[in-house]
Amino acid sequence: MKRTPFFSIHQNLGAKIVPFGGYEMPVQYAGIMEEHKSVRNNVGVFDVSHMGEFFAKGPNALSFLQKITVNDVSKLVPGKAQYSAMCYENGGIVDDLLIYMLAEHSYMIVVNAANIDKDWEWMKSHCPSDVGFENKSDVTALLAIQGPKSLNTMQKLTKADLSSIQYYNFVQSTLAGVDMIISRTGYTGELGFEIYFDVMHGEKIWTAIFDAGKEFNIAPIGLGARDTLRLEMGYCLYGNDIDQTTHPLEAGLGWITKLNKGDFIGKPVLEKAKAEGLKRKLVGMMLSDKAVPRHGYQIVVNGAHGGTITSGTFSPSLEKGIAMGYVNSTHSEVGSKLQVDVRGKLLDAAVVPLPFLKKN
């Protein structure tokens, strides 16, 4: 089991530690509800150093990434990031990821922790020999600083004008004396940043951020609240909502799947699926009763099996049970009535629009 450079900090903070994606990670500190609200109302810090970082360089890096991912990498310019996914030939999803264009012919690819080895093997097997391809996952620290007070916190530590960085843009700058990538991205739906830097500066950066955020009641946030925050926004989690058995179109990721960009792995299958019409779709559901839908619970449509909950939780912001799952397209319209089998009880639910939580 691997550890991030912040492991002893988590221990000293009294975090509950669990195995996740091959790492020992903090699942909660003060409690999921309190941490969730810290991010929605103030600012919270997530150690997401378990994520993987690959670097692709060279004149053919663009064509390599175009072939292996579904979004249009040619739309990137230095300083812009893009949400994307990789598919197998059959359209199933290898992983969802972020691509950062660092400079001309130079990209960073950020992948899920549990998929680092699998993604590396997959990408390597498709990587032309003249593309420099490197895995720097073990030497790259990644913190996410999220919440309405994240900008005020981070701005104290850098000369870069953070307020001018648009969503899905980044700068390569210095923060608290350390060179890093400061990216206006996140997995919470809040104003926030993700910062990538050398693991050797882990403790220094953590301390600087917590000192700067003290006046805003900055708090450490575990994987538990990371999950409730992302689910309120309807963001997919690999391994739950998407995996090798689902394709991007049925997962609601049509907006990142650019079928008109030229060839990429999985494209013929996705084109065919689109032409034939999607058989099933990932939808958001809300329960009318007081209950918590969870991963693996059965969805019932007209008294028969209608799908399985892929992610479910109690929403701390809405104080209701929310879930996502695949249902037949005929029952995927907003307002469609369904039931969820919650430990033997059939409870009424309805398809609701995503995100669950509407932000201004």
């Binding site: 699942v27 409690g31 999921i32 538990g224 939780t313």
Partner: protein, 126 residues
Amino acid sequence: MTFPEHLKYTKDHEWIRIDGGIGVIGITDYAQGELGDVVFVELPAVGKKVEFGQSFGTVEAVKAVSDLYSPVTGEVTDINKEIQDSPELVNKEPYERGWMIKVKLANAGEVKNLLDVEAYKKLIAK
């Protein structure tokens, strides 16, 4: 974590306080800590029979759900309505305002099957 000495415990992490033939039942400090933030507690109706070792309800936390097992056999005489509106009391005051049900004992002898505080502490130390 605290474990009051005057309570009896189950291996499923419930506690019971017996007072004049009535048992007050809840979950232990250890159980609430393992579950995390409690969001709903589903309890039986007053008048319902509960049985030793059988499920009488469920606790739903954000991350996990757990059955509640009765430490005794008997009839439910009262349920804690306060935790329906304020389930966080189960986390904050597991032995006081976070209690769950009161049961009129059908067989006082059953209590001998339960763990005392030392045995319970040993169980969770494993």
